[in-house]
């Protein structure tokens, strides 16, 4: 792992579905608001590389995985519930 001390996030989507588009928008909004300058987002379209779904154990779409800081965190859904996202990412204590 790199020495990156911010949040490394990866969002798995499947094509341009409404839920995917909403998830991307919601994630960006939350990060800008709560993690300005301390985050990086990678968006993975499983339609283009379905093997990644197997490798990364993706079942639900969209799935957000916090790769850093460790441990790995997994959030599913379009991220419309901001509270749950913040708790899930350990940005705000439960």
């Amino acid at each position: 792992m790199t020495e990156y001390d911010g949040y490394s996030l990866r969002l798995y989507v499947a094509g341009q579905t409404p839920k995917s588009i909403a998830a991307v928008a919601n994630l960006k909004k939350i990060c800008e608001q709560h993690l300005p300058g301390r985050y990086e987002i990678e968006i993975v379209d499983l339609m283009k590389d379905p093997a990644l779904a197997v490798r990364h154990q993706i079942v639900a779409i969209p799935t957000l995985i916090r790769q850093l800081p460790e441990p790995l965190k997994r959030i599913i859904g379009d991220l419309s519930n901001t509270e749950r996202v913040l708790v899930g990412l350990d940005i705000r204590p439960n």
Partner: protein, 591 residues
């Protein structure tokens, strides 16, 4: 199966559904070809009843036997675990995976590690499944157990709609799918999967009765196809899954006029001199130690001796023990095993229930294709079944064997000689030949007797025969009928000794008479000799007398001459007249 496809291929004909064979012995018969092709089948049952193994077998057979690659979507087990678990059945899953004939994808869902924030769907699962199917061109899919999703994810309503979508999607993909589900309380599956899978539902069950578990399978529904509706016992062992189909053909089997030897020449004699009918069922019943196994071994020996295969189901003794025991009466079964004409199948009756035993037998018979089977003893198995099932199950076995033209010899242990136990009554009516063996006590000893109670379709002997076990096997002795019935053992020997004594007396009498006759003959011969001697002496006497007479005449003549001479000249006066009479006297003494 092929017929169905052929019909389907013709446009305009009545449409019927195609079937995808499972390759599971017995199941394809019950379903008349297999699972509905291109449609999902729901396989439900409680934990440990063989759902995963069933699914894996379906895929394995598809890949190996039918050229249909398959995908196993595992929610519960890791691929390595799965491969190991079925490795004991000689399913080389690892090789199939390497050859791209099988793909395993393990789906890991743990509620504690997943937070839900907003709406989602299971597109990820679809993508994975689609990827796996496309990567190997899969025709078969097993999803085991999809209900795990319900414990891993919160939104049950969403899951339900997604599952509905999954089944539609599988159908659209044209894959034959098996979806497993846990048995629920009062429902087939805990989360009601049967609502979505409407084409075929199979229920697996593992019930325990008297501490013996019996696995059963039932086709709950099969849309668009006739199918057996009963509960069918099935077994899982080192050779995979075997379902015992209960054939509805029942009494449609051929009745052969061909004969097979019982292996005992004397017994064949009682059966019109030819033996049993091929494909008939023979019941040999008797109490302990009456020689049932020996009759069974003779039969097996004869079958193998004619170059045909035989399976010996030993339910009480180990094969080695049977072989050893039979060697002591001069039957060498080992040579048939070495020649691959005979196979022993020994299983403790208490190992599992009657139905499972029958399923095992069905499997062994289908695989080995013998001309005859021996089940020794049947009674041990009967104890393993709930009483009501016994008749039905034996009927199934008998039907199955008859349909294949296999001659079957069952031995049955009765407690007392001639004791018609309930089970015996139940099964004896299914039998074509019923041999009763008695071990009767009389004069302080037990003697074996054999009686042919019935033998359908032939004029059989009605005699009770004594049979003797010797180092040359069984010999039947001619029935010895005395004033008090059949005599056996020492009573028979005593009677025979008596007969022999009487015979001896008769012989001696005859000898004495002939000796007497001889003596008389000699006596008479001696008398004849004496008489002949008398006759000879009388003849000699007569001859002498005659000669004396002549001599006297001569003398008289001579005297007359001498008198004449003396009267005239006195010629030869010195010759005495007594001399000639002395001579004949000497001759008489010498006789």
């Amino acid at each position: 199966m092929r017929a169905l496809q052929a019909v389907r291929a013709k446009p305009g004909d009545l449409p019927t559904i195609g079937k995808s064979p499972t390759g599971i012995r017995g199941l394809d018969e019950i379903t008349q070809g297999g699972l509905p092709q291109g449609r999902p089948t729901l396989l439900c049952g409680s934990a440990g009843c063989g759902k995963t193994l069933f699914g894996m077998t379906f895929l394995y057979n598809g890949a190996v036997e039918y050229g249909e690659p398959g995908v196993f979507l595992a929610f519960e087990e890791q691929p390595q675990e799965l491969i190991k678990n079925v490795g004991s059945l000689n399913y080389d899953i690892g090789r199939l995976v390497a050859e791209k004939k099988l793909a395993i994808d393990h789906v890991e869902i743990e509620r504690s590690k997943i937070a839900e924030a907003g709406e989602y769907d299971l597109e990820g699962l679809f993508i994975r499944l689609g990827f796996a199917i496309d990567s190997i061109g899969a025709k078969r899919v097993v999803v085991d157990t999809i209900e795990t999703l319900f414990s891993g994810l919160e939104n049950e309503q969403l899951l339900r709609s997604e599952l509905r979508r999954l089944f539609e999607w599988l159908k659209a993909k044209g894959v034959t799918a098996v979806i497993t589900g846990e048995r629920g309380e009062g429902t087939l599956t805990r989360y009601g999967l049967e609502e979505y899978v409407a084409d075929c539902v199979i229920l697996l069950d593992n019930r325990v009765h008297d501490q013996l578990s019996t696995r059963r399978l039932r086709i709950v529904k099969y849309r668009g196809s006739a199918h057996g509706t009963n509960e069918y016992p099935f077994i899982i062992d080192e050779q995979g899954i075997t379902v015992m189909p209960i054939t509805s053909s029942g009494l449609a089997h051929e009745a052969s006029t061909e004969r097979v030897s019982s292996g005992i020449a004397d017994l064949d004699q009682m059966l019109e001199g030819k033996g049993y009918y091929k494909g008939s069922s023979i019941l040999v019943s008797g109490m302990a130690g009456s020689g049932k196994s020996t009759i069974a071994a003779h039969f097996a020996d004869a079958v193998c001796g004619s170059g045909q295969r035989c399976i010996y189901f030993a339910t009480e003794e180990s094969p080695r023990q049977v072989i050893r025991n039979m060697r002591s009466i001069g039957i060498d079964l080992q040579r048939w095993i070495d020649k691959k004409l005979m196979r022993f199948s020994a299983r403790r009756p208490s190992l599992f229930g009657l139905e499972s035993h029958l399923a095992t037998m069905y499997r062994d018979v289908s695989e080995y294709d013998p001309a005859a089977v021996v089940i020794d003893p049947m009674s041990a198995l009967l104890g393993a079944g709930a009483s009501g099932d016994v008749h039905a199950m034996v009927l199934r076995l008998v039907d199955f064997l008859k349909a294949r033209g296999i001659t079957a010899l069952f031995t049955n242990l009765g407690v007392v000689a001639g004791d018609n136990a309930a089970t015996e009554i139940q099964i004896s009516s299914l039998m074509d030949v019923w041999l009763l063996l008695y071990n009767r006590e009389s004069n302080g000893e037990h003697n074996r007797q054999l009686y042919l109670l019935k033998s359908r379709g032939m004029a059989h002997s009605n005699q009770v025969r004594e049979f003797i076990l010797s180092s040359e096997g069984i010999r039947l002795r001619e029935a010895y009928l005395g004033p008090e019935g059949v005599l056996t053992g020492s009573a028979r020997l005593a009677q025979e000794a008596k007969d022999r004594a009487a015979m001896l007396v008769r012989e001696q009498e005859a000898e004495r008479r002939s000796r007497e006759l001889e003596r008389k003959r000699r006596e008479i011969a001696a008398q004849i000799e004496i008489l002949q001697a008398q006759l000879a002496s009388e003849e000699a006497e007569t001859a002498l007398t005659n000669r004396e007479g002549v001599a006297r005449e001569d003398q008289l003549a001579a005297d007359r001459v001498a008198m004449g001479v003396s009267r005239q000249t006195g010629a030869r006066p010195d010759k005495p007249a007594a001399k000639p009479t002395n001579k004949p006297k000497k001759r008489l003494d010498s006789i």
